[in-house]
Symmetry: C2
Subunit: 237 residues, 2 copies
């Protein structure tokens, strides 16, 4: 039975981290809200009526089992599709990296929504400009530096964040870098060369057969200004 | 060998979620940065030199194993101290709740720091007032409502978030409610009665023998205005 992924149909958003893992795994899945007219209603119904209702999308259905929170979904998929080490320390380290990447993703979102997700960007532009300056000057360098350090210290080599094989953490780092490059081209043009191992990983992930095919397919929703990573030129510098 | 908890010594912060789990478990632990003069240096050293450096405190050392990210630490402790179900679905559901609570905790922090953690509150007071209004009006009710719903739908009864026994998710919900009540007494006085099962859980956790002893001990750092939950009367309403 294919997995069912429940997420907003018109953005990459947090669902994209799950999509990338499913694609790399070659897993069969239905992107419910995109593939079916009743998808949005089904998504709403789980959140309203489920015995264990997810707080928000994305969530994944595997048979009878429904699981929410991106990092928890990836933890689950990682164990099933060999996208994380089997031994506990490695499995938790991969999860820890994912949770840190999730923190960065939320901060990227909050650059354009520092006051309230329920308000339009236009209603919080001044605050967004201030928050984004800090994100560009302090937060992006801190996160990328940490990833570069982890790659440098990986005893199995600098090609992967964990061990000598692909994990969902590598896929997620790819996605964050793709998003930052989309949203902040000037910043990334200036900063990118400081993180050569991150850049190499990013390139290597994009070339993986299944990821490459996915990125070229209509299944990959283009970045856009409703998602987490938004290209607002006034926020880049 | 006792666990070693590494966290800032003068605030509850995210470390408190780990402390509560360790206390409820009756586990031996050293609160390194509080209990030793060299603790802060040791904490810094792990982050700067470790092979798997945590991005930020808290992190926990169990023998040779070091693990960061509050939710990952609790996942680890939950399995070892019977503070989460053993079966996979229950274990991941508990984790999912914890990750959602962690989102709420970050939002509580961002009420007073909507622009940058590196700036003082005084430098972002106007933005804080706007962000906090949304937090009070929309986010706190949404999170508490979700917890109330989960309790209502728990087939094992409304006393616990998961199953019929205490989990780290119950402890974390206790802590969030304590924090919200400290920071936003007016809001909580007005809202609290809408969430009777959450309120009952909160009270029940506070009365558990080990938690009660902990809360009355000097090990429990009082809430203060350097932590996540801050009592700024101008932000309450």
């Amino acid at each position: 039975m294919p997995y069912e992924l429940y997420y907003w149909p018109s953005i990459q958003g947090r669902g994209e981290f799950v999509r990338l893992a499913l694609e790399e795994a070659g897993a069969e899945y239905i992107d419910v809200a995109r593939d079916s007219k009743k998808g949005m209603a089904a998504m709403q119904s789980f959140m309203e009526k489920g015995e264990r209702p997810p707080f928000a999308p994305p969530f994944l259905k595997d048979g009878d089992f429904v699981i929410g929170q991106t990092a928890a979904i990836l933890f689950y998929l990682g164990g099933r599709h060999d996208l994380a080490p089997k031994e506990e320390a490695g499995r938790l380290w991969t999860h820890q990296i994912q949770l840190t990447i999730a923190d960065c993703v939320l901060e990227a979102h909050d650059t354009h929504h520092p006051i309230a997700s329920g308000l339009y960007y236009e209603d919080q532009k001044d605050e967004a400009a201030r928050r984004t300056q800090d994100f560009r000057d302090n937060r992006v360098p801190k996160y990328l530096e940490w990833c570069e350090t982890i790659l440098a210290r990986n005893p199995a080599g600098q090609k992967h964040l964990v061990g000598n094989r692909i994990t969902y953490a590598d896929l997620s780092l790819f996605q964050v870098c793709a998003g930052l490059t989309y949203a902040f081209p000037k910043l990334m043009k200036r900063e990118w060369h400081k993180y050569p191992s991150v850049a190499a990983l990013q390139e290597a992930v994009a070339k993986r057969a299944r990821i490459k095919a996915y990125l070229a397919s209509p299944r990959r929703i283009p970045f856009n200004e409703s998602g987490i990573f938004r290209k607002y030129p006034e926020l880049d510098a």
